[in-house]
């Protein structure tokens, strides 16, 4: 291992970990840290550097603000190993499902420590701000079946570090194990432990549908909550968030404000969560952790003023060993309160002579 590299990486990791521990990073400090992380990657991450050079970046002309850092498109993780170390030396890799294409990619991480510290700090603030100790009921990929699922890894880490009792994994081969989930909830109820149901939106729909089909509910113990993530990518059944949360609140006997949406990507190390203030509102606003910032850009990649609709670019300082700036197709608006996520155009669509027939049925 190159000594220069190690010293630089360790110094950056220390700064990032300080930001995580403080849960604070002001604008100048964020710019400085993000630019330093980029400079490190410009030196050690060859594919990223090549891309940045093609956009006019050089050793003598490095970005001075986070907004000026070239963002790699999410799809780039399919075309290159975007890592500051050789992939075989990465401690972790997560498989990116991508958006519209069949190919998958890999997000390599040099070490799990930074990744875990970042995800735990974000989760603590978003879902465990009251200091609750919860038992985790997982409707997300089981790491034993899908070891390279970032969501599965994240929830396994949270359950291991923060859980009250052993987590239950109730989604296998995309099939929901409702009897086991029901028993797990009953067990938690008997133990007097609140539950955190961690679920993708689609799995939640499947659960609610199955409960409804049998005319049942699944009341959770007092203090329980739901972390919902994902969406409906590639699914045929799409349910609106408001309807979904209303149904979930009714089925679980919890307040809708106890349902918190997480917004993350395999290509990131950090996450956004619904702001506490917006959890009682029809419009949920996403808050990033302090070492993660969204920038909304236009079609040419230029940052837009707050209040404008554009594609979301994430600057995630915890992505120290991969790529600090990631460009997505997700649309959003930056408001005074945080990020309003608007979603994306679903996939590449064949162009017919008409969308009208679909309007006819959907409107």
């Amino acid at each position: 291992m190159n000594e220069d590299y190690r010293a630089q990486a360790d110094a950056l990791d220390a700064r990032i970990r300080t930001a995580i521990a403080d849960f604070a990073l002001d604008e100048p400090a964020f710019d400085a840290l993000a630019c330093d992380v980029f400079a490190h990657q410009f030196r050690w991450n060859a594919p990223y550097a090549a891309y940045a050079r093609s956009l006019g970046v050089s050793e003598n002309a490095l970005p001075r603000t986070a907004g000026a850092i070239p963002a790699v498109p999410g799809e780039a993780f399919k075309d290159a190993a975007l890592c500051t170390v050789a992939p075989e030396r990465a401690a972790l890799w997560f498989e990116t499902s991508g958006t519209t294409q069949a190919r998958s990619g890999r997000h390599y991480l040099e070490s799990p420590a930074l990744y875990e510290a970042a995800l735990l700090a974000g989760f603590d603030r978003a879902l465990l701000a009251d200091g609750a100790s919860l038992r985790y009921a997982m409707l997300v990929p089981d790491p034993r079946e899908r070891p390279h699922s970032s969501l599965g890894y994240m929830m396994a880490t949270i359950a291991r570090e923060r859980g009250a009792g052993e987590a239950g994994w109730y989604l296998h081969d995309e099939r929901l194990e409702l009897p086991r989930l029901t028993a797990g909830v009953a067990h938690a109820q008997a133990d007097g432990v609140a539950v955190c149901v961690a679920t993708t939106a689609f799995a939640l729909v499947a659960l609610l549908d199955e409960l409804a089909a049998s005319g049942r509910r699944l009341p959770l113990p007092p203090g329980s909550r739901v972390m919902e993530t994902g969406g409906f990518k590639g699914r045929t059944r799409i349910v609106g968030r408001e309807e979904l949360y209303a149904r979930a609140a009714e089925a679980f006997a919890i307040d809708e404000s106890a349902i918190v949406a997480e917004y993350g990507m395999t290509e990131l190390s950090s996450q956004y969560y619904d702001s506490p203030a917006s959890r009682w509102s029809a419009i949920r606003i996403k808050l990033p952790v302090p070492w993660l910032r969204p920038i909304v850009v236009d079609v040419a990649g230029n940052p837009l003023a707050d209040g404008s609709v554009g594609a979301i670019r994430h600057i995630d300082c915890a992505n120290r060993s991969s790529a600090v700036a990631i460009q997505t197709e997700d649309l959003g608006v930056i408001t005074a309160d945080g990020l309003l996520l608007l979603g994306r155009e679903e996939g590449a669509a064949l162009r017919g002579c008409s969308l009208d027939a679909e309007d006819l049925l959907r409107r």
């Binding site: 963002a71 554009g310 649309l331 027939a357 006819l360 049925l361």
Partner: protein, 414 residues
């Protein structure tokens, strides 16, 4: 017998087909004039609805209405039915029973939100067949405005047409217009078409026009000729209407050459795209599409920076050429993007089309001499020279289907 509520074809059925055809052609002739006041109003409304600039809308309306001539209508009808008069009553046929091509009672057309006036062509053929027609119109009210002109030519045409702008989910209207129709023409994706089909009467004729893609195939031989003209045609086929039509060029196959002409064509095409953007300025693109196109272009730029493929792009993102994209990636279908897949022959293009199960509608070519071979290898129902992919003649077929035959029922007199 089923009957739609407002459209009444009683008067129309009393008219000779020739009179109807002439009236339709006369109405279209008035609409072919860019200064015709209803067209001026419609042009503005279409631009507002779709975000296209006036030159683009004018081009589309010119192509649409200039094609609806008496000769073209007559040729299409005669080609499919044998004669025009056969729509009026029994006609003798050599070696076959005398027959009457009697128009069905009720036709419903659920048309397009993304293209301009796609309902009008099936409408005029259904009217030529003397059917009562219900059309779902768009907010630009183009169909309604054209029907007013038809009515000025012959009131029977207006009486036979019910143009509505209902909202989806309006069960009363949908049950009536879909369930009562003898023929339903619908455009859309598979899910929507399945749902519409389910609402049709069991014995109704359902004419679906599903989502399709179109491609171009450029041979090595063609690259030895006038590539500037070829590139201009490709650019027009790909960029007009922002690639939103099923006949828009969404993907270009280019045969590799030993002298690098295939690589040079990328630059020629870029120049053509820039010129096309001057002739047909692009309108604003919806943010979601802009983001998707931007991401596709950025991914191509990343690959290019790392030694694979090329990307050339207008500064404002109006057009993007991506040379040599990954074979596993689907093209983005429109948004001003022209993915160029280099191949060693038709088999390479066929492999790409097969890999992605692309349902091809049109195929652009430099020379139609190879049409049969390409149709066999790649599929598609329309093969046209570059620059004319989106300009199908009225006397031809639509999506591989007849123009008028679906709107009639044969009555034989044995």
């Amino acid at each position: 017998m089923r009957k739609t509520s407002c459209a009444d074809s009683t008067g129309l059925r009393a008219l000779p087909a020739r009179t109807i055809v002439r009236a339709i052609a006369d109405a279209a002739g008035r609409w072919a004039d860019a200064d015709f006041p209803p067209r001026v109003r419609a042009t503005a409304a279409i631009g507002e609805r779709l975000g296209y600039t006036t030159p683009v809308v004018d081009y589309a309306l010119d192509r649409l209405f200039r094609g609806i001539t008496s000769d073209a209508l007559t040729a299409a009808i005669t080609g499919e039915l044998g004669s025009l008069d056969i729509l009026d009553g029994f006609a003798e046929r050599n070696g076959r029973p005398a027959a009457w091509a009697r128009g069905t009672n009720a036709v419903t057309i659920v048309s397009s939100d993304t293209t301009i006036g796609v309902a009008i062509v099936p409408l005029v053929f259904a009217l030529a067949a003397k059917c009562a027609v219900t059309v779902k119109d768009r907010t630009d009210a183009l169909v309604a405005a054209f029907v007013e002109t038809l009515g000025e030519e012959r009131p029977e045409l207006r009486a036979a047409t019910d143009v509505r702008a209902w909202s989806g989910g309006d069960d009363d209207i949908e049950v009536q217009t879909l369930g009562d129709a003898d023929v339903v023409v619908a455009f859309g994706g598979n899910e929507a078409l399945r749902s519409i089909r389910a609402r049709c009467a069991p014995d109704a004729t359902f004419i679906p026009f599903g989502h399709r893609a179109s491609a171009g195939y450029l041979t090595a031989a063609a690259l030895a000729g006038d590539t500037v003209a070829l590139a201009a045609g490709v650019a027009r086929d790909a960029l007009l209407y922002d690639g939103d039509g099923c006949l828009s060029l969404h993907l270009l196959f280019v045969e590799r050459t030993s002298d690098g002409a295939h690589e040079r064509f990328v630059d020629t095409l870029a120049a053509a795209c820039a010129a096309n953007a001057v002739e047909f300025p692009a309108g604003p693109r919806k943010p979601a599409r802009a983001a998707r196109v931007g991401a596709y272009a950025a991914a191509a730029a990343f690959r290019s920076a790392n030694g694979t493929g090329r990307v050339l792009r207008a500064p404002d993102g109006t057009w993007t050429i991506v040379a040599d994209p990954p074979a596993d990636d689907l093209p983005p279908f429109g948004g001003g993007v022209i993915p160029i897949v280099f191949v060693d022959g038709v088999a390479g293009a066929a492999a790409y089309v097969g890999r992605h199960a692309l349902p091809l509608q049109a195929l652009g070519v430099a020379s139609v001499d190879d049409a049969r071979e390409l149709a066999v290898a790649l599929g598609g129902v329309r093969i046209a020279p570059f620059g004319h992919m989106q300009d199908p003649p009225l006397a031809g077929h639509h999506g591989g289907r007849a123009r008028i035959a679906d709107f009639i029922r044969w009555v034989d007199r044995a």
